[in-house]
Amino acid sequence: MALKMETRNQMPKRIVEDKVLRFSAGERLSHWVHAISFFVLLFTGLGVLSTSFQPAMAIFGGIQVAQLIHRIAAIFFVVVVGLMFFVGNPRYHWRWLKFVFSFKKSDWQHVCAFPKEFFGGHGNYPEQEKYNGGEKINSLITIFGTIFITLSGVVMWFASSFPPALVRWAYPVHDLSMFIMTAAAIGHIYLGLLHPDSRAAMSGMINGYVSTKFARAHHREWYERLKKEQSMNEQKNV
């Protein structure tokens, strides 16, 4: 389906002057809805994680309101992001999935170099496509984390409709997903906001474009491919 849509739609121009379009509007919407609702979920969920957070629930108007918000946010967290795979211009989402699930040797090499990069060093790894190994890992965590946290959440929400044994297992699954996603989110934020080398990627999630400089430096394989595709298209149009 995704491929069909892609052929039907006109490809926008990806490289414009010194900028490269990395994320479509739909992708950015998904990301931010997911991100914001994740944090809303996280904070509203803290009340049941530990009593030490319970006083803080006053921010939301008490723990019962927090739990209500938690459920409303959960709908956004799942439904809005899920919908983006089907409405508007969904091909980017499907392409993203395709990328994420095609984990190659070069991705491994990036992952191996990642710790060094993380702490400001420079690792040795081959050129990367649109998503590097680390980003793919982050995406995988997000995808599977979302699936597990959602499924377990549904079971917990409608506990009385499920066998108790299943509900019992939903609690640790929900918690485990939350811990992993939270840890990943912390790293993700660091890389997006605080990491001197990679924070330039942030603009891609804001207006969609990253500098060609960044694209060349971090995702050269992707950049080169785009350049090639674009010039072929231009020739065709001419």
Partner: protein, 265 residues
């Protein structure tokens, strides 16, 4: 107050259900709409307003009829899964052996509901509070018998110090086994030894009770493994970030203006 025990001697129970009425009366719980389910049973699950009810099992074997009656209520486990599952430290265990929900603290998350191996606590979805048998802790702590024990006419319920009750239970068991060889105690060891101890006339399955009730593995995994490990993982991530910021500062990466656009050609 030393560990207390309520002995439920089902060989003496007549299934009159006075215990459930006395419970409702003392705890001011309203009646619910019911219908006959099977035998003389009208309730088969705990609710926020039904903390104890009577179960009836009919067993006809070798031309001999057995009609087993059992009062169901919270067992008040020595090793209570609900307490372990509770998100709000609302469930505590008293020295006397009672597992009690503090309604002030309870937020109705329902974790206790699903983790109890006996399906005891229930959450009121409007009040957002979890309810179950309190063991009449208010009465017991004020030197009164629990309402159910107090009212029991056939003498199937008795209350006392744990040792004394165990001795009594074993004495009765020896007697009862003469006519019911499968009779056994339930709650002596189960869940660390429950405050409500049964003398059953047959095996627990016949009464629809779990044979080896345990704290669910999922709960142990959750509370004893995932929680600490997860907390450490999140903490670790945060620490790594702090470390990363410092490392980059130390390396002077932030002052390198080249990096502003993320390139390093």
């Amino acid at each position: 107050m030393a560990r207390k025990t309520v002995l439920i001697d089902t060989s003496l129970c007549t299934g009159c259900k006075a215990c459930s009425v006395a419970c409702k009366e003392w705890n001011e719980l309203s009646a619910e709409k019911t219908q006959l389910l099977t035998s003389y049973q009208t309730q088969n699950a705990f609710t926020t307003k039904t903390w104890t009810y009577m179960t009836f099992v009919e067993k006809y074997e070798d031309q001999k009829m057995n009609w087993f009656m059992r009062k169901a209520q919270c067992f008040h486990c020595a090793d209570p899964a609900c307490m372990k599952a509770c998100s709000s430290n609302a469930i505590t265990k008293t020295e006397s052996g009672y597992v009690v929900i503090d309604q002030e603290k309870c937020i109705g998350c329902g974790y206790c509901v699903e983790n109890c191996p006996f399906g005891v606590p229930k959450v009121d979805q409007v009040k957002k509070k979890s309810y179950k048998c309190t063991g009449c802790i208010d009465r017991v702590e004020n030197n009164l018998l629990p309402a159910c024990v107090n009212t029991c006419q056939p003498g199937a319920l008795s209350f006392g110090e744990r040792d004394a009750m165990l001795t009594q239970a074993k004495k009765r068991l020896a007697e009862v086994q003469k006519t019911h060889p499968k009779a056994q105690l339930y709650g002596e060891k189960e869940m660390g030894g429950t405050t409500y101890l049964y003398l059953l006339l047959d095996s627990p399955e016949v009464y629809d009770l779990p044979v080896n009730p345990t704290v669910p593995l999922s709960l142990t995994l959750w509370k004893d493994v995932i929680r600490p490990v997860g907390t450490v993982a999140v903490g670790g991530a945060a620490a790594a970030v702090v470390l990363g910021v410092f490392a980059n500062l130390f390396r002077g990466n932030y002052s390198n203006s080249d990096n502003k656009e993320g390139g390093k050609d």
